[in-house]
């Protein structure tokens, strides 16, 4: 026969099913949050690296104008090169389902003929790989912009205006998108297409390569200096053979292009993980305090029949252990599943492949440790307090209500006269269990504060992107397939109705020449006309370009990361094409940090001199006469410009709108804020379970009073209102506190995000939308949290609660 004391434990567990479920739910919620966060963190950190490594990513990408297969074969013999591939990258246009032309980057290579696994091999989601001649595979990322699906035939417009029809034979995920850092990164990348090298001539392109992919020897693939050494040898070889190097970039094999964003998420996960452990601890403490409070009389009885304090403590610790183990059994699989769902979402938006859903031992171990320790630690104080009271106190019930109606807030509220008595009951009940209230408020407040902060962070990022948009103030950006004379293009474009101004800009890729004469990192040099109205830079140091400057240059803040010693007044040597030239640094400006590569601005004339493009340009920025054009208006203007120039036989490579740039970036970065939102909702759910628990416990403890209210005329509605208003009062207090605490949390989270994405601290731009949305949520949560207890309270009969005979 089971010993009576253990029988009591199981009886406690089974006879109060509602309470037991609440306790288990409280612990399980905390464990779930911890498990989900840890599993996400581990898989994210592992898979983004190992998954990336698995696609054979190039360690070196070298951009040139053209090289052929013979030269590629020679490159393969260079020391340190394990694998080399040539790719032809070109920008064309694809017709979307709305009939509009969207830019598409088409990569053509010897897919399937390399005798080895190709570099950056896309993961096939649908259809086949590799595409054959005149076939195309599309990347999933911006597939919706094209509106195409597997089996469709898409129309590709060549710069000549010729339209080619290509069947879509595969939908793929290419994890290397954004790795060149010259395209504005993953989030600015447009639609990506892949075809066989044999298709190039059909697409009006030369049959060869303009990008070299190289993998170094296996042992060096995680060794930056070794990779760089191979890159230097390649650049020397290109130079020697007369191929201009427009730029290059090196990567470790595990360095996914979007690693900074994952690092940002991991930092947030890490921070919130800590918070969640604390919140879960609060939740569990609250629940056990209430449990012990309900058990005071039984403790008194056990003491009268000879139970020692140690024995009683042990009994309750075992009870907690049983609760914890049940919660653990529930939380582990659920958190694993939820983590996988979260990772699926992130992987689509951050462009990596989750290798597989798997059991993460570290996560389960942490959950087990927390399950075994936190509830026991959380329970020990109330258990020790509960078992310390004298038998007399326990049996008289004096202990359970002490200090309930003596606090400052309570006395203050006792002075409130303007409310009806039922509302007064709700308000004063709110402050009866101050310890419980405090823990509930902390839990809900932190969840709410993170939620509100998420909106502030999102707003800050969005504001910053808007601010970055001032580097691109034009309504329409026009890229022509070959240089045209500025005056001619300007005159032609000005004929289009609604065009107010045209500026011809110039641009080129350059390499920093280091002190030892080697080519350094690739710089995207942008050259506005000297009196350009279409740029409003954020200066960090020095000044912006002046019309009279000669070979003056301003550099983006990312230079400081690569060249920390660099400063205004220094001279920077750049290699543009085959020639080197010196530039005087006159200013440093804030740009998009790690989200973009190295950027530099010089005057148009200076760059034109270097590139031999005086008076000509491929890039034009067009301003509308209507200064309030929205995206649709800009698109319409872009169409008119394109139609007009096409009619004049211009070879157009791309026509884009100004606002779409910020739009794309905001959309891309929204994965980070959505992720933050999910995390804050997770915390909010811990908070709301806490509130639901508190309300249930409060009602459980106050059934007697509810019976009295029933006896003196309290209807269902009155009782439900009293309980609901109490929950809502707690929700509103937590909202007020959350609104305050959100201020420092917003700054902290925004700084983490900004530091990683933009390489700078954040200028937090606060918005009240988060506060108001959270207010709505917290009101709903409070109402939901209170409604079950309120409904239960209204169902109590007086006889049950007053326990007559």
């Amino acid at each position: 026969m089971i010993r009576p004391r253990w029988h009591k434990i199981f009886s406690d567990l089974l006879s109060h099913k509602g309470r037991s479920l609440l306790i288990i739910a409280s612990i399980a919620t905390g464990l779930f949050a911890i498990g989900m966060i840890t599993t996400s963190y581990v898989i994210l950190a592992e898979d983004i690296r190992s998954g990336y490594r698995a696609v054979n990513p190039p360690n070196i990408q070298l951009f040139t104008t053209f090289f052929d297969r013979d030269y590629l074969n020679r490159i393969r013999k260079i020391d340190g090169v394990r694998q080399a591939e040539g790719v032809w990258n070109t920008n064309l246009q694809i017709r979307n389902t709305a009939g509009e032309w969207e830019p598409i980057t088409v990569k053509a290579s010897d897919y399937g003929r390399m005798g080895a696994k190709e570099m950056g091999q896309p993961h096939v989601l649908e259809g086949i790989w590799p595409p054959d001649e005149k076939q195309i595979a599309l990347d999933i990322n911006r597939l919706s912009d094209a509106g195409a699906k597997l089996g469709d035939t898409v129309e590709i417009k060549l710069p000549s205006g010729v339209i080619r029809r290509m069947p879509v034979v595969g939908i793929v995920r290419d994890q290397t998108i954004g790795s060149s850092r010259t395209e504005g990164g993953f989030f600015l990348a447009g639609i990506q297409g892949y075809t066989n090298i044999d298709t190039l001539r059909w697409l009006g392109q030369p049959e060869g390569y303009n990008t070299l992919y190289v993998r170094v020897e296996t042992e060096d693939q995680e060794n930056k200096p070794a990779i760089r050494a191979v890159a230097d040898r390649l650049i020397d070889d290109f130079d020697k053979n007369g191929y201009p190097v427009n730029g290059f970039i090196t990567h470790l094999s595990s360095e996914h292009p979007n690693l900074p964003y994952v690092d940002a998420m991991a930092a947030v996960i890490y921070l919130l993980g800590f918070l969640v452990v604390f919140l879960s601890g609060f939740l569990i403490t609250n629940t056990f305090s209430a449990l012990l409070n309900q058990q005071v009389e039984q403790i008194g009885v056990m003491k009268t029949v000879g139970g020692s304090r140690g024995q009683i403590v042990a009994m309750y610790m075992v009870l907690i252990l049983v609760f914890s183990l049940i919660a653990l059994a529930v939380a582990i699989p659920l958190s694993n599943k939820a983590a996988y769902m979260l990772l699926e979402y992130i992987s689509v938006h951050i462009n990596f492949q989750v290798i597989e859903l798997r059991f993460v031992p570290a996560s389960s171990i942490l959950q087990t440790i927390v399950a075994l320790l936190v509830p026991q630690l959380a329970g020990i104080i109330p258990i020790l307090q509960g078992t310390r009271i004298s038998v007399r106190e326990a049996l008289s019930g004096a202990a359970s209500n002490q200090n309930e109606t003596t606090g400052f807030m309570y006395r203050l509220l006792a002075k409130f006269r303007g409310f009806s008595r039922p509302i007064l009951i709700s308000l004063r009940n709110t402050f009866r269990r101050r310890g419980r209230l405090a823990l509930t408020l902390i839990t809900l407040m932190l969840g709410g504060a993170t939620f509100i902060a998420t909106f502030n962070v999102r707003n800050s990022i969005s504001s910053y992107i808007d601010r970055l948009g001032r580097y691109f103030l034009a309504d329409v950006n026009l890229t022509l397939d070959r240089p045209y004379r500025l005056e001619r293009v300007a005159a032609d474009v000005m004929q289009v109705q609604g065009v107010a101004m045209v500026e011809g800009w110039n641009g080129a890729f350059a390499s920093v020449v280091t002190e030892d004469g080697k080519a350094g990192e690739t710089v995207q040099v942008v050259a506005p006309p000297k009196d350009s109205k279409l740029i409003e830079p954020i200066l960090l140091r020095g000044r912006w370009l002046m019309p009279d400057d000669r070979n003056a240059i301003t550099l983006s803040e990312l230079f400081l990361e690569s060249y920390p010693e660099i400063d205004v007044g220094d001279t920077l040597r750049l290699k543009i094409g085959m020639d080197e030239s010196d530039w005087e640094i006159v200013g440093l400006f804030q740009f998009a940090g790690r989200s973009s590569g190295l950027f530099a601005y010089v005057n148009y004339d200076d760059l034109a001199r270097e590139t031999g493009m005086q008076g000509k340009s491929t890039s034009f920025r067009i301003v509308a006469s209507d200064t309030t054009l929205d995206l649709a208006g800009q698109k319409e203007l872009a169409s008119r410009v394109e139609a007009h120039l096409s009619s004049l036989n211009y070879k157009i490579k791309d026509v884009g709108t100004g606002l779409s740039l910020g739009d794309k970036t905001s959309q891309g970065l929204s994965v980070l804020t959505t992720f933050l939102l999910i995390m804050s909702l997770l915390m909010a759910s811990v908070g709301s379970i806490g509130l639901a628990g508190t309300m249930s416990l409060n009602v459980m403890e106050r059934t007697h009073e509810i019976g009295v209210m029933r006896a003196i005329g309290g209807s269902n509605r009155a009782i439900i209102t009293i309980v609901l208003v109490e929950g809502i009062a707690i929700g509103l207090i937590s909202w007020l506190l959350a609104s305050l605490v959100a201020l420092p949390i917003s700054k902290q989270l925004a700084d983490i995000m900004f530091q990683i994405i933009f390489d700078r601290s954040a200028d937090v731009v606060f918005t009240l939308s988060g506060n108001f949305i959270w207010l709505g949520i917290v009101l709903v949560l409070s109402t939901l949290a209170g409604s079950a207890p309120a409904f239960n309270a209204s169902r109590l009969t007086i006889r049950e609660v007053l326990a007559y005979e």
Binding site: N401, E404, T405, T406, Y410, A414, S420, R421, P422, L424, I425, R428, N429, R432, H704, E705, V708, M709, R710, A711, I712, G713, G714, S715, N716, R717, A718, S794, R795, T797, I798, R799, L802, Y804, E805
Partner: protein, 358 residues
């Protein structure tokens, strides 16, 4: 605010009908241990303005009986009418509001809400039942607290005043909506004797003002201060005439007598049929005439049968008479040792039919 928006205190026009009528009340509790019938077919009528004590041992069923009236509990069978309204068909929520307007309840353990001040506790039933315009409620509550001597403590929390004061406040709360009926379940059970006396005096005042009061108590002396006593024993109501006639008898004996009693209604002038000395008669109502006119009735004394007894023809007076015929062997031990002559003019007398002397 127009006053008609607020409910008015309930007034009964009883026309002599009972304000509380209970018929065949049976209450059976079911538990894992089996069934326990706590009330066994109880019939009770309470007239408006009566101050009734409900007495009985712990577990006898007296609180359960009162719970049937308050609607706190529902009978397994039987009917409860209050003011002519059957209250058993009301849903719980409607019942709560009905209760708040028609009944004032005072509990043994005061049951004031600890988060409200005394005056707020008194105002709460008015809020719940929407009685009296809000602007009047505080004034009315203060008036009620003044009536129970608590005007100086009105704005204190219950925890800050003594138990007796809490119970007085609970009485004030019970009067908040001016209900016609007050139900008090052991209201003095948790008070010292001095405080209990103060609370009892409040009830007596209220009874004098015409409130119908049902007062559950263990305390015999307090019960004697009410004008009607209902004794519940083992779930059954003991005949009230017996309770009044034999105040010292054990509850179980009274129950046995109650069960063994045979009612006998005599029309005016009707002769008592020849009876046996094995019965003792108790006059519940009306007068008897012995011989040629009203005479004191002789109570049997001592060992009984040879003692003075009523002789001659016994007939009902002008108003008729209601008698209870009781088994003499049960009553005998309860009778006084010496013959007692009932005072003329009292309605309660008991006697034995004896042999004619000589």
């Amino acid at each position: 605010m127009p006053p008609e928006r607020y409910a008015l205190p309930v007034r009964y026009d009883s026309n002599g009908d009972p304000i509380i009528r209970m018929r065949g009340i049976t209450k059976t509790f079911r538990s894992a241990a089996g069934e326990a019938t706590v009330l066994k077919g109880v019939d009770v009528d309470i007239l408006p303005g009566q101050f009734v004590s409900v007495v009985g041992r712990s577990g006898s069923g007296k609180s359960t009986l009162v719970n049937m009236i308050t609607g706190i509990d529902r009978p397994t069978s039987g009917s409860v009418e209050i003011g002519g309204q059957n209250i058993l068909h009301m849903p719980e929520s409607d019942m709560a509001v009905w209760r708040g307007r028609h009944l004032g309840i005072v509990f043994q353990f005061f049951q004031l809400l600890p988060m409200l001040t005394l005056i707020e506790n008194v105002m709460l039933p008015m809020d719940f039942c929407n009685m009296y315009p809000p602007a009047m409620r505080e004034e009315r509550a203060l008036g009620l607290l003044t009536r129970v001597g608590l005007d100086d403590f009105a704005y204190k929390l219950p925890g800050a005043v003594a138990g007796g004061q809490q119970q007085s406040a609970a009485v004030a709360r019970a009067l908040a909506n001016d209900p016609p009926i007050l139900i008090a379940d052991e209201p003095t059970g948790n008070l010292d004797s001095v405080t209990a006396e103060q609370v009892m005096e409040i009830f007596e005042e209220l009874a004098a003002l015409g409130k119908t009061i049902l007062f559950v108590t263990h305390d015999r002396t307090l019960a004697l201060r009410t004008n009607r006593r209902l004794l519940i024993s083992d779930g059954e109501l003991v005949n009230e005439t017996l309770v009044a006639a034999f105040p010292d008898a054990s509850h179980s004996l009274l129950l046995r007598l109650s069960k063994g009693a045979q009612p006998l209604d005599l029309p005016p002038g009707a002769d008592l049929p020849p009876g046996s000395s094995a019965h003792i008669y108790l006059v519940e109502a009306g007068w008897l005439e012995v011989g040629s006119g009203p005479q004191p009735v002789v109570i049997a004394a001592g060992d009984g049968l040879d003692a003075p007894a009523v002789s001659g023809a016994v007939r009902a007076g002008d108003e008729g008479a209601k008698l209870l015929s009781l088994p003499a062997d049960l009553v005998e031990p309860l009778l006084p040792a010496e013959p007692v002559f009932a005072e003329a003019g009292r309605s309660l007398r008991w006697f034995r039919l004896g042999r004619r002397q000589g």
